[in-house]
């Protein structure tokens, strides 16, 4: 449950919803520089901020912080609202509040910042992938998702890559007190020196035996498995059509 700051509850209690005429008059006055009218307009619309913030509240985000950030969206809406256009203030304000809330959540999620539009696209991609998977019974390819969303495959691939979740080595897992770092196997030399030495010895033996290959065998195996000896040697390693196109 989200607990509301006492300050916010008091503001809501003391400011009932405005009528359309009151809203129009206050907006007009606020536009002409009346600070009291501006404040009244802001305080009377805090309900909207709370309602939107509740929708966007996630476990990793503090609710009161989210309220504060969403309020900046309300302030922007108050300053930019044009009452002469005839729309209700809440219709206009909700977009600014949503934008502020999403922007804040975006900053809090993940260890590095990804642009909000990219996060929004990623969310669309995830929904589309689920939808296509339900319809076809198998995971869709990037091309299929790109076609369904009318975006380029390159953009889809880039967005998926940019939005990959990262976790901290030191973060505690929910199941127990051990962090991820404690669960990862130690593969360093010191954890199992005998095993490491054995592997090194095997590598030495294999490399030594690879020396026994005749020059002809060595060349053919390298050609067969694409092991380039000299990147400039296009006689023994002819360029593929793809490479020619690339160049």
């Amino acid at each position: 449950m989200t607990l509301l700051n006492k300050e916010f509850s008091d503001i809501i209690k003391n400011n009932p919803l405005l009528t359309k005429i009151q809203e129009f008059e206050l907006s007009k006055k606020a536009k002409n520089g009346d600070l009291k009218a501006r404040q009244k307009l802001v305080e009377s619309n805090y309900r909207l901020v709370i309602s939107i913030s509740k929708k966007y509240h996630r476990n990793n985000v503090d609710f009161n912080d989210l309220l504060q950030e969403s309020s900046t969206g309300l302030l922007k809406a108050v300053d930019r609202f044009d009452p002469d256009l005839g729309y209700k203030f809440s219709t206009y304000a909700c977009w600014w509040i949503k934008q502020a809330a999403l922007s804040y959540i975006n900053e809090q999620t993940g260890s590095f910042k990804v642009p909000t539009h990219s996060r929004m696209l990623y969310s669309k991609i995830r929904h589309k992938v689920d939808q296509l998977e339900l319809e076809t019974g198998k995971k869709p390819t990037i091309k299929q998702v790109a076609e369904a969303l009318e975006e380029s495959p390159k953009k889809i691939a880039y967005t998926v890559k940019a939005n990959k979740q990262s976790i901290s080595y030191d973060a505690d897992t929910s199941e127990d007190v051990l962090s991820l770092k404690d669960k990862l196997p130690d593969e360093s030399f010191y954890s199992n020196p005998a095993d490491v030495l054995e592997k090194k010895e095997l590598m030495r033996i294999i490399k030594q035996n690879l020396q026994k290959l005749s020059p002809k065998e060595d060349k053919i195996i390298r050609l067969r498995f694409g092991l380039e000896e000299d990147p400039g040697n296009t006689t023994d390693f002819p360029l593929t059509q793809e490479m020619k196109d690339y160049l």
Partner: protein, 91 residues
């Protein structure tokens, strides 16, 4: 349900390598006349040499058939190719 099958073939696509016929053409044009079957046999022979060497270093005796089977195993070839790649990087 589909049964999980072991890897049966080594595909050169994984390595950007050439097919037997292309290799045969390259070798023929550089003076070693051969066809695609010879290329395949030379590759098997090369891997057989490596298997033989490793087994004798470890004091294990394999029959010629066993050596050929190991040499043709995709997993073994994969590992050797990875080591050869590593060897190139070390240079």
């Amino acid at each position: 349900m589909k049964a999980v099958r072991n890897k049966k073939y080594v595909t050169t696509n994984n390595y950007n390598g050439q097919d037997y016929r292309t290799i045969a053409n390259i070798m023929t044009s550089s003076g070693d006349k051969m066809n695609h079957n010879t290329v395949r046999n030379i590759i098997t022979r090369g891997f057989c040499k490596v298997v033989k060497g490793i087994s004798s270093d470890y004091g294990v005796k394999y029959s010629a058939e066993e050596i050929k089977r190991i040499a043709q195993s995709p997993d073994f070839q994969d590992s050797i190719v990875e080591i050869m790649k590593g060897g190139l990087n070390e240079k």
